[in-house]
Amino acid sequence: MSNTKDFVIEEIKKKIGEFQSNPEEKNFGRVRSVGDGIARLSGLSGAMMSEMLEFKTSDGSRYGVALNLEEDGVGAIILDDYQAIKEGDEVVSTGKILEVPVSDKIVGRVLNPLGRPIDGREAVVADKYYPVEKVAPGVITRESVKKPLQTGIKAIDAMIPIGRGQRELIIGDRQIGKTAIAIDAIINQKGQNVKCIYVAIGQKESKIAGIVAKLKEAGAMDYTTLVVAGASDPASLLYIAPFAGCAMAEYFLDKGEDVLIVYDDLTKHAAAYREVSLLLRRPPGREAYPGDVFYLHSRLLERACKLNKDFGGGSITALPIIETQSGDVSAYIPTNVISITDGQIYLEPDLFYQGNRPAVNAGISVSRVGSSAQIKAMKKVAGKMRLEVAQYRELAAFAQFGSDLDEETRKKLERGQRIVEILKQGQYQPMPVEEQVAIFFAVTNGLMDNVPVEKITEFEKKVLENIRNTSLDVLKEIKKSGELSDETQAKLKKVVEDFKDTLEYVSK
């Protein structure tokens, strides 16, 4: 016992002996006015843009970021609670840009945008400090997106596939399932070697608690980090939250890993930035947003990329979420972010209330990476699906009026109805890609044409169970090779036909 005590004392003595304290000259200023999370400071003539400032209050140190560099002073946002700061308090520049602590230990944690824990556990011991604002990787360091990021949602993986390194916007009205898509995508990354970061900006704390519980239940907290700036946090924290999340993602990117980052949601982020800008007396533009709100999102989303082998080969896939008002996608912020991302997933209220959930409108949703981000097997079976769904929707509107249709049209309608039924999916039930391939194979090759439409969902569940029980090797083959050989196709066909023979409700 005394040995360890002596050892510890020796260690501390050694550390103290090695301690070097070099006197550093710092800029200082005084608080001229403070309120609403903003402080106006005099002095600090050498302050740099986005530099961290330390407010020396009677209650300890508070930190802020210099955002407005003016002729006779500095405007700064305060990152902690600003109640402790008084007029006349001293402010010292730290010489550092805002940074967050990163290490492998942030996985499974719930942190605030400054890297402090809010899950009640110990503080994160930093391996490194990554800057919150960073220039995005250049053209030469990047590579085109080829590897798929499986979201586990049939509608997306089939028709609007996402690749690793892509930015895909999830856009829709409130309560339409935007967060649900993101969470399902995170849950589906289990075993895929992808780290996930969920950045919650301005969300209700109760919603976050629910998400954490769900992720824990699904075992997703083993590879997910949450960065939370809740609805009651000051606007300055909401403003830096996505950048902090991206800095943490870049730590894994630099190690050559794949990361999925979800920004939920950027509408609240833009509103927080507007709040901070108006308080800093920056001139308001359209919808009272400051002039650089496009740059705000573009510099954030450009940091999501796929790096080539010379730079580690890692990737960051971004899923930003935007909430529209009454489906108005031509408002200022939605149009901005649509022009920045590599595609969007539109969620429509009409589809939602008709029972098609996820309410993805495949007609106007786009993935600019497209089928280069699909495994060959999926490309084969899902290639025509998007067209068939679009044609079905056109015909369905038509067919409401009469029942005298020719054989061609009737067949198209029947097939379309079945495909649409197949694309419905429950929440928190992501489907692995090989099972998706099996189901799409069955429906596009007419194997489900004689199953009544109301029984399709039940049939899908049972047939998958059957395939899992009887021909697990087929699924494994698809997963391993990514291809759907003629042999595999024949095997699948046989299994489905055999299963259908055992059911009464299937007409012959």
């Binding site: 301690f19 710092k26 200082f28 010292v92």
Partner: protein, 132 residues
């Protein structure tokens, strides 16, 4: 039309310049005009800005030495010389303060730069170093 505090301060500076013999009168008239405009409450702010402008015009640098214990005469002189050297030959107006909370050492402040050589600061830095 609202007049900004900076404009008041500049006006005062220029009036003092032009009427170099009648400083007291200028000051009195200035105070009167502030009361007339209803801006007397901004006097503190205006005087702060005036101080900065005055210092800039006369190449004065305000410096402060805060120490935990009172300094000897030689110590004070050598610190003053150091401050004059750092500020590049400008005249230095030095005020001294004693603050027991520093535990030892001094804090030098000149213009808007600060050099914290206090023992309290060193202990805090040591704490950070040990914790990392």
């Amino acid at each position: 039309m609202k007049i900004a505090p900076k404009q008041y301060a500049t006006a005062l500076l220029e009036s003092l310049d032009e009427n170099s013999g009648k400083k007291k009168e200028v000051a009195a008239r200035f105070a009167e005009s502030l009361i007339d405009d209803g801006q007397i409450s901004k006097l503190k702010e205006i005087m702060e800005i005036f101080d900065d402008l005055w210092n800039k015009k006369n190449d004065l640098v305000k410096a402060e030495i805060i120490s935990a214990n009172s300094l000897s005469k030689e110590m004070q002189k050598s610190l003053k010389d150091l401050l004059t050297k750092i500020s590049g030959g400008n005249k230095v107006e030095v005020t001294e303060k004693i603050d027991k909370h520093l535990l030892g050492g001094t804090i030098l402040r000149y213009g808007d730069r600060i050099l914290d050589l206090s023992l309290k600061n060193k202990i805090e830095k040591l704490k950070e170093d040990l914790n990392s």
